[in-house]
Symmetry: D2
Subunit: 339 residues, 4 copies
């Protein structure tokens, strides 16, 4: 339940106010040189306090690689274990929350599910979890870059995050993502379609409420004659179509065009106003939010979107490669008929 993917598989652990976050990235092929500066670069993009409208939690997110990468920085083909210590978890900000369900958080549902809950910062439901996703994704994308597969996402502002923050409010936002360099043929019918896997990945990110690819929800208001992608003539395998309504995916399989998609984020759940809620006994009470909170979670979700896309594509690449035709072995050797 805390694992993502099949052949490239990330398994994570960590509560936001526990000792550490971390994970195990399994399935990375051997011999890939990993530059930890690239990992740190993406962690910095995700870090609270790194942009406008985002929370001021000052964690440097030092990642420690414990296995799977040799001293000279090369993957060994073995699982990559890593941890990020929780250094700056100011639990005192949450002192007033104990036993009270914050609005729009997972406190109520976690408590109903498990009968036990860490009211400091959301425990496992916190977006702090995504630090591990960025570590893993930032490793996988370095492997995929060898094939010139790249991940690119951008924040698209909808409302003014700074203004909302000054009013103690928060805003939603959109992250638009694209995957370039993808060869045709990735994606597995019928239940592991590329869009299913990408959609599940994006809908795993905290605060995401919608996912679309290609023409997306506009498709529902289009005619078939408007949205057909025609083949480029003469045929060009690297850019086979002259338009991209389909978002680079046909029948669940990449067609060689750029894959593009949008991810819609709701406003950050915590707003700086007193909230009427209930406690674990069902009694009404009020929470006065403190602490550091993003006013727009979409801003620093950009590297998270890229990382989850990289994990999906890495898995799909390994699944696809497993179809490599089996050669006669050894060449020229004939042991006679099969029976």
């Amino acid at each position: 339940m805390n694992s993502f993917g099949s052949l490239i598989r990330l398994t994570t652990f960590g509560e936001s106010h526990g000792k550490a976050m971390g994970g195990i990235l399994d399935g990375m092929p051997p011999g890939v040189v990993i530059d930890m500066d690239i990992v740190r670069h993406h962690l910095e993009r995700r870090r609270p306090g790194s942009g406008q409208g985002v929370s001021q939690r000052k964690e440097t997110d030092d990642v420690e690689i414990l296995s799977g990468i040799s001293p000279v920085g090369e993957t060994l083909g073995t699982p990559i274990g890593f941890i990020i210590r929780n250094k700056d978890a100011r639990s005192e900000d949450y002192a007033g929350y104990t036993g009270k369900y914050r609005l729009n958080h997972a406190d109520y549902t976690y408590h109903r599910k498990y009968g036990i809950h860490d009211f400091r910062g959301g425990g496992r439901a916190s977006a702090r979890e995504t630090v591990s996703w960025v570590v893993a994704g930032s490793i996988v994308r370095q492997w995929l870059w060898k094939a010139r597969i790249a991940f690119d996402a951008k924040y698209v502002a909808t409302l003014d995050a700074m203004k909302a923050a000054s009013e103690g409010d928060s805003v939603g936002g959109i992250v638009t993502g694209k995957i370039t360099g993808l060869p045709a043929g990735l994606g597995e019918p019928v239940f592991d379609k590329l869009q299913s896997r990408l959609g599940a990945a994006m809908l795993s990110i905290n605060a995401v409420k919608a996912f679309e690819y290609g023409d997306g929800n506009r498709s529902a208001r289009m005619k078939g004659s408007e949205c057909a992608d025609r083949f480029r003539i003469p045929h060009d395998p690297l850019t086979p179509f002259s338009s991209n309504h389909c978002g680079g995916i046909m029948g669940g399989i990449s067609n060689g065009m750029e894959v593009n998609f949008n991810v819609y984020f709701k406003p950050a759940p915590t707003i700086m106003r007193p909230m009427e809620t209930i406690d674990t006994e069902g009694k009404p009470c009020v929470i006065e939010p403190k602490g550091r909170h993003d006013s727009c979670v979409a801003i620093r979700a950009v590297p998270i979107v890229e990382s989850m896309a990289a994990l999906v594509i890495g898995d799909m690449v390994r699944l696809h490669q497993s179809y490599v035709p089996l050669e006669r072995y050894p060449e020229g050797y004939d042991p006679g008929p099969i029976l």
Copy 2:
């Protein structure tokens, strides 16, 4: 790759113009009475030719149950094998297609992936595949109904499907789904959030381009102060909130409210006009579509949406039940300390 779910798992097979479609539904608990008329009812709703704007393929979709259900209609706890013969596959309609890639279909991507492709009707990429999903979903929903969990979906028209059909064109559409009776606590953090699983399920359906739940993509244009769901006071575990912006899911776990979501379909890919395309050698050519084709695939996707939702929820129910506390066994017996 042709399996969906973990503890309630559907595995399917079948090409649209092969001998039969079918599947194995694994994980159904024993002792559930299954009414095959209910299964047939939903198959009829999905059947081509059963509504306006849908194709005229006349298959009665007789499903044969081969195992897992006793002669008196009770599940045995063993896998339920079933087949639906392909009786009315008019392959002659596809005679002109051989070696030519239909626009907006999976012909090109399947061929690039596998190096071999059945050009008659799309093979495994055909929506014919979903007949097996409806069989399985219609079994699972009868089990879940014992707990009063129900699945309800509706087609929301956007453009005039009849008019488009008369012009040889096709249109997109929306299916809005809801799940009622769901107790709080279903859904598994972190990567098996309820919305991730539902999203992946819906994005597996042919022609689906977008998925949203609760406020969905509108969330991205909202403020936090506008979309907070407040607890009903006094607390009511069966309807705990006074609004449902979150769509019944908080932190990936059901909160006891109705779960609601929208699924966006692109127009049916085949339109009744000559299409310029290429053949398997990359040469330009023209396809003259024949045969029976939906002008709006969303219409008969309604029971498919319900069925996929039922498969997801069934899996989540069994996953959740696996947390049932382990009791001392036997009661009153004390063998002393553990070491």
Copy 3:
């Protein structure tokens, strides 16, 4: 629970006295020519009544392929669905069994687990289930044969099966298996070691009580100086060692030598004598066995052992191939630095 394997995955269904047995073989690569006569040959080897000491159930085991193989016999890369109708299930032989637990069968445990049980012939616990395993294994081995990987098993008699049968008794037996042509490098550390997967496969077969590979249980009585496998000098990658104590597997990974293993079968559970047992209410009663039963199940288990081995190796081959290095795409194209 009714699926075996990951990338080559067999999912099965069917009760011994239901309508049909069958399965779905997923993950076979496209373009492999399948000779159904080879499948039928192995089914015939497994068939009751095909040898001495085996039961006289007269089923011809006609397998019908429903998908995944083209009309000219080539795999499509799509799941292979197949069924075998139960034609000769003489349920009247079991009439006296209803509600009584046969000794050494799974009647008692199935009933305790599911609260419902088909007392005719064991339902899903019957060795009839293995007919599907032989169909699947006989397909997979034809693919592996392209790489000259072959499966060979033999029955090793311990006691006289004919004599025991004449006394209404039954006997145990051994099947010794080997896999030839296996390249070095197959098998996945740490929990998917080749011997783990093979062991699990063999221990799935009805009546199997033990599995060993290489020197097996004799190893426990050996010294390290006695059982070291030395490298052949000069080095020969195709036969790298001068002995094979390890059974072709080192650290869970094939070393290029023949893989060999033994599978130990207990005597057939049904013997032709009145058996004192209890019924579902816990009351003592007697069963008078009728029907056709093997006196030695190991004899016709030979193709089952081969088939399960083929399923394991097929999975391991695809897993291993998924490590194929990812090439720069397209060649010569340099889009600049990754960041």
Copy 4:
């Protein structure tokens, strides 16, 4: 590939001479009190240098729990991340090994598989890996103890380990295991039989060459009339049979009797004599073993056997509980017919 189990799942990482070993134990139910002294007790039993005939590596194996257990020692239902630092890895002992394949180790096969290998101490193939298994198993068994399910294993000496050690040689050995308190009904047909899962677990342990349960390989030399387990009359659900030839498992499902099994270990691979081998270029060379090595690996494998058994049973318990009948919800509420 580095994960074991489905609902109770252990994922591990770590090379023997890297920074740390560790893992993530996923699926532990919430609210179980964990005594870390019990974990440390079992780690101590496994520790090199803790018994006769075992290596003198002096690691205290301090385990650090990073998540999933509250400050007061209660599980949260979230994944339990843990690490054990490698403090005493005397890599200088391995200096002479670089580029040379040790006999009977996985050096050759790992190198063939991955094209890269850490020659210091076997990397991931080292038995050091099992430290994480014992941590996880020692947590899981505390949960299962609440139901009085217990794990008991013993080393059975075959040859004199001390004498062999004094001669620079090593010996094999047997570990006999039993599981008590197991209710009837655990184990999943057809491919997740209890013996399949146990066998795969035991065959994952370094140096294991054979697994048997109940009468085991002796079964192959028995008659059916000798090995039938008869029901105790009157029926006693807690000890339903008067003998236990079947080892507590019938048809893959526990029958309520004690489950018992044997695990056969080959001699420790490293012996203190010069070994003729080859290097990575295929050239003959000699290795002079140094360092600390067990002469009999079976001795300290005892808690490993118990731990792996606990992981298997924990998984089976959760799988079985997921069959808990779904109750009508809410009681007394009738929304009318399903359609």
